[in-house]
């Protein structure tokens, strides 16, 4: 049996597979991590990914949109894997996660710029752990004797000072919402968002009593309800993923607009198209112009260097 395409859709994972005699391609979508957002749908160069709003049960909160991947269209390129802000998709080739789109530099990676300076940490504080809406942060504390310390209350001030704090963030799953940074009182964590943009809700246009966007937002606190049951936005923690947009019953009421994406520098037609779809043509043009300007600057600098070398 030479070539087999399989697809299995379970509650917690969607798995697509190509089985060949000498190769094996696997795409695994972790439904628990998936936020039902717009990113992969827009990024996919084959338009193989669709999101489907789930029917609402009257007494339950709204469910996030369900992502489906067309086995006939998917070519296991791994662009969804690279672009997913929540790290929910994994494309594996012959058991290895080395993606050709990355090794051949035909697609960039998102830059999740997170810096942690644990020296500034308050040794007793674990605000960031609770702040992370996706529970990606773990703190481990080690005493001077090398033994893990769980409770600092019983320690002497000296011993407390000698406790070493390590903060582990599962970066690959982090959508860079900055919730931890805002909660951190000591300024130990610095996060730069990989997606920048605008989020706005026109409550005048919202259907009365609707809070579907609040239900599905994966970043707790970004969308909340005020005392009059109107939706309030907090743009500073928004990842601009568009999960809310996917379920909003009134398209004109909610705006999610990505303007800028931080990524590793790469020349790629596929990325340009993704960028255009994820942001807007005008925002994409801005990036292209910036890139062109950068190239020109490098060229000029290079010429100066050459002339200086000649002089020498």
């Amino acid at each position: 049996m030479p070539f087999k395409k399989t697809k299995s859709d379970a509650a917690d994972a969607l798995v697509l597979e190509w089985v060949l005699q000498v190769k094996n391609y696997k795409l695994n979508l972790d439904r628990n991590r998936c936020a039902g957002c717009q990113i992969c749908t827009l990024a996919c160069p084959r338009q193989a990914i669709t999101t489907q709003k789930q029917p609402k049960q009257s007494d339950e909160p709204t469910k996030k949109a369900k992502v489906d991947i067309d086995l006939e269209k998917c070519n296991f390129c791994g662009i969804c894997d690279v672009t997913c802000p929540y790290g929910a998709v994994k494309v594996i080739q012959n058991g290895s996660h080395d993606l050709a789109v990355l090794t051949k530099e035909s697609y960039p990676q998102l830059i999740r710029d997170i810096t942690v300076d644990t020296r500034r940490c308050d040794k007793e504080c674990d605000e960031c752990v609770t702040a992370c809406p996706l529970s990606l942060i773990t703190i481990s504390k080690v005493g001077y004797d090398g033994q893990p310390v769980n409770d600092l209350s019983g320690l002497s001030p000296l011993a407390k000072r000698r406790v070493q704090v390590t903060l582990d963030i599962q970066k690959q799953y982090c959508p860079t919402c900055r919730a931890c940074e805002f909660k951190c009182s000591s300024g130990a964590i610095k996060v730069k968002k990989c997606f920048e943009g605008k989020l706005a809700v026109d409550t005048e246009k919202c259907p009365p009593g609707c809070h579907e966007c609040v239900d599905v937002c994966p970043i707790t606190g970004t969308l909340t309800l005020d005392s009059k049951a109107k939706v309030v936005t907090a743009e500073q923690t928004c990842t601009f993923c568009g999960a809310c947009k996917n379920v909003c019953p009134k398209p004109e009421a909610l705006t999610v607009h990505r303007t800028k994406i931080f990524h590793t520098p790469v020349h790629s037609g596929a990325w340009n198209k993704t960028l255009e779809r994820l942001t807007s043509p005008s925002d994409a043009v801005k990036e292209f112009k910036a890139q062109a300007a950068k190239t020109r600057r490098e060229l000029v600098l290079h010429r100066f260097e050459v002339e200086e070398m000649k002089k020498k």
């Binding site: 089985v19 005699q21 790629s268």
Partner: protein
């Protein structure tokens, strides 16, 4: 160019009738002496002669002698089908100085002796009527001159497999310009995918590769790879072929074949050319020896990162905006060598193909054992990547199987023997090989010796049909259940891998090619030859030839020889400056023409022009002689030479002169239904002898008057035989024109009180002899069920109305 030449002064008719015994083929059933005696009683017949074999030289000499000595000016030969020997006797007649269109054949072999063996008396009656009909027609025949058309001395080869390559090279070497159309990205066909060839075990691509390169480098050969045949117009010597070059998104002239783009490409997809065992890049060639060596981008998988464009750099060979491009070529002959496909037995669940990972087909095994294949020549199992130690081969999967493909696929026994010898010689004692077979068919040079070689290597041959294969879900080993018919007991063999020697099947898209080139296909879907024995490389359409497996499965040596054979057949056409075509075209009587223009729309070839206030004009070279316009002309202004209304009506009169109620009058088109009826005779299908058949070139020729006249004369039933709808008609759409006409006619006749089963239109292909016999049996039983009295009563009622209708015309 010819026109009917009225004899200067009407001379007395002197008809000679020659009755052939054809050994015992005719004389064994038909009482030929009675037929000869009967012929003597027909008016105008002045000479009757019986021959043992009319087509043999002495028989032909008899005809020539009689024409000269008896001053015969018309000849009737009662022998076999005109589809067999009409050209032969045309020459004979011409050699004696008579115009070759002053003779007619009466088919008393395929249409009498062979198909009514159970009823010699009825067969003789039918033969007599056939002679009478032929004499009736020949009386009205006129001398005609053959038309000559210029010939384009170029050829096109459709399909670049090993047969097509040989045809192309042979023609090119003879100095003809050759175009080669290949639908995939490389020429080479199946042979290029094989590892070794039987029985010599020489490397397949090593012997085919140089030929492929020769093709590409030959100044007389132009290859259109990745291209499709779109349209074909014209006729022998003058075909206009339209080819669509599908976009590769790489400019062939600029691509150097360096492969740097491939290295830059991040996307892989299953390589169909490798039977999907391995992958290829979104920009790649299917295999290293690809000819022409031009890369292609598969836009179904490409993510458009443009890394290839970057890698190609200044060569600038990549063009993402490439569009399909249509090319028109003019050729004199066409060689069809479209090859075959390999059956994938997904619909045979008991064998587990597609379900169990270690069940593969022979073609897949070929790619596994090939050193340049995806595994580098290592035979491994898909389930665990390990080498199998026990391999079972199963023959006749799908072939010789009534539920799938009833025919023998010709080469699977031999390639399986090749596989087992390769395995045994590569892995020696490390591998146990079992072959489950029905019969080992090894009729070829060195083939039987090769079978011996396999047996000497210790291969276990088990004669029996495999009933099912089970898989151990843990080890993925397979249990083959079969019967050992030599021991007469069931047998179970555990194997690590099972290889299915699956059937080979007609190429996907054969129907499309058949439609474009007006070819017919046999019951299995392979192209039909003009004659299975004497014209194995000729298509029924003049100027079209077959090579290789497209007209029935063949192994490599046979395909190669057919390629050369087809080249030689094509050269007989394109080496001539002019080609003679039959003058059976239509002509317009300008005085009778009412300038209505009805014929212009009905002509399938657009060969008729009718300008304002001018009588219709027929473009002779474009007229194919179907006669549809004749049947459609409301003012009877058009005549088809050699098949005039008067001639056909004379045949109808002769056929229905006696006991018309007991007879079925059949008007059959030359290409499909007449050939099908011939096949019924050749296959000795016995059917009732009440049928009287008239040949026309196309069912489109069947005018309403023929049917009305037959019924007026009291025919028991009327049958019109045509090519299958929609595409089988030899004249594009004559069958549709006939259908429109007869649908209305049948409704009218039924309304007038005729039993509907007495008028029937039946579509019979050249391959459907059995079907034809069944149709005749059915009509005859319906006729009998109605009873003679009922038919006569109906006829009495119909007759005045029909007479009125025919008079008005």
């Amino acid at each position: 160019m010819s026109s009917p030449q009225d004899p200067a002064k009407p001379e007395a008719l002197r008809v000679g009738v020659f009755v052939c015994h054809c050994g015992l083929n005719i004389a064994g059933t038909v009482d030929v002496h009675a037929v000869a005696e009967f012929a003597k009683t027909i008016p105008d017949v002045v000479y009757v002669k019986e021959n043992r074999y009319t087509c043999a030289d002495p028989g032909q000499e008899e005809i020539r002698k009689a024409i000269r000595q008896q001053k015969l000016n018309r000849v009737v030969i009662a022998a076999c089908s005109p589809r067999m020997h009409e050209p032969t006797f045309r020459r004979t007649v011409a050699e004696a100085g008579l115009n070759s269109f002053l003779y007619e054949m009466a088919n008393i072999r395929e249409f009498a002796s062979w198909c009514h063996q159970s009823d010699p008396a009825a067969a003789t009656e039918r033969a007599k009527d056939s002679v009478k009909m032929a004499v009736a027609k020949v009386r009205l025949m006129q001398p005609l001159q053959t038309i000559e058309v210029p010939v384009t001395n170029k050829a096109v080869i459709i399909g670049g497999g090993i047969a097509g390559i040989n045809a192309a090279l042979d023609l090119a070497e003879q100095g003809f310009k050759v175009y080669m159309v290949e639908s995939t990205q490389s020429i080479g066909g199946h042979m290029a995918a094989l590892d070794k060839t039987f029985p010599t075990l020489d490397c397949s691509i090593c012997i085919e590769g140089p030929k492929m390169v020769d093709c590409a480098r030959h100044p007389n050969i132009t290859i259109f790879a990745n291209s499709d045949l779109v349209k074909c117009e014209g006729y022998i010597g003058n075909f206009k072929v339209k080819i669509r070059k599908n976009p590769r998104f790489v400019i062939p002239e600029k691509c150097t074949g360096c492969g740097e783009c491939k290295d830059a490409c991040p996307i892989e997809y299953p390589n169909e050319w490798d039977n999907n065992l391995g992958t290829r890049k979104a920009i790649s060639v299917p295999f290293d020896q690809t000819v022409p060596l031009v890369y292609s981008i598969n836009r179904d998988y490409c993510i458009e990162c443009f890394k290839c464009t970057e890698a190609c750099g200044e060569r600038d060979a990549i063009d993402f905006d490439q569009k399909p491009q249509e090319v028109d070529i003019e050729v004199g002959a066409i060689v069809v060598s479209t090859g075959f496909d390999v059956y994938e037995p997904y619909d045979m669940p008991l064998l587990g193909y597609g379900k169990y990972p270690n069940v593969i087909t022979g073609m897949e095994f070929e790619r596994l054992i090939l050193a340049a294949g995806p595994t580098g020549g290592k035979v491994i199992r898909q389930s665990d990547g390990k080498k199998p130690h026990r391999i079972a081969f199963i023959l006749c999967v799908g072939s010789r199987d009534k539920q799938h493909y009833p025919y023998c696929s010709n080469f699977c026994c031999m390639y399986t023997l090749k596989h087992v010898v390769q395995l045994k010689e590569k892995y020696k004692e490390d591998v146990e090989v079992y072959v489950f077979y029905m019969d080992i068919r090894s009729p070829g040079k060195g083939y039987e010796e090769f079978y011996d070689r396999a047996r000497e290597r210790g291969v276990n041959f088990i004669r029996g049909r495999v009933s099912r294969i089970d898989e151990d879900p843990v080890t993925h080993n397979l249990m083959v259940h079969s019967e050992d018919s030599l021991l007469g007991q069931p047998i179970e063999v555990e194997a690590d891998m099972v290889v299915l020697a699956t059937a080979s099947i007609p190429k996907k898209g054969s129907d499309e090619v058949a439609r474009i080139l007006n070819l017919s296909r046999d019951a299995n879907g392979f192209f039909m030859e003009a004659h299975p024995k004497l014209k194995p490389m000729d298509a029924p359409t003049d100027g079209v030839f077959f090579a290789g497996a497209c007209a029935g499965l063949k192994d490599i040596p046979y395909s190669v020889s057919q390629g050369s054979g087809a080249a030689s057949r094509a050269a007989t056409v394109i080496s001539k400056p002019k080609w003679k075509i039959e003058p059976i075209i239509s002509i317009v009587d300008e005085e009778k023409c009412k300038k209505c223009g009805a014929c212009v729309d009905k002509c399938p070839y657009g060969a008729i022009r009718q300008d304002a206030d001018q009588p219709a004009k027929i473009i002779t070279a474009s007229c194919h002689g179907c006669g549809t316009c004749v049947a459609e002309c409301p003012s009877h202004a058009i005549t088809q030479m050699h098949f005039t209304d008067a001639q056909v009506l004379a045949q109808i009169h002769a056929a229905l002169e006696t006991n018309p109620e007991d007879k079925i009058l059949a008007i059959l088109c030359n290409w499909c239904s007449y050939a099908g009826a011939d096949l019924a005779g050749i296959s000795r299908c016995d059917y009732p002898a009440s049928v009287r058949a008239i040949r026309v070139m196309c069912s489109g020729r069947v005018a309403r008057e023929f049917v009305l006249e037959a019924l007026r004369l009291g025919a028991g039933a009327v049958l019109i035989g045509a090519c299958h709808l929609p595409y089988d008609c030899h004249y594009i759409s004559g069958n549709y024109k006939m259908k429109d006409r007869t649908d209305a006619l049948k409704a009218m006749l039924t309304k007038l009180g005729m039993s509907p089963e007495r008028f029937r239109v039946e579509y019979v292909s050249a391959a459907e002899g059995i079907h034809y016999a069944e149709v005749i049996r059915e009509i005859d039983s319906q006729r009998k069920a109605l009873g003679k009295e009922k038919i006569q009563a109906e006829n009495a009622k119909l007759k005045p109305i029909l007479e009125n209708m025919l008079k008005r015309k």
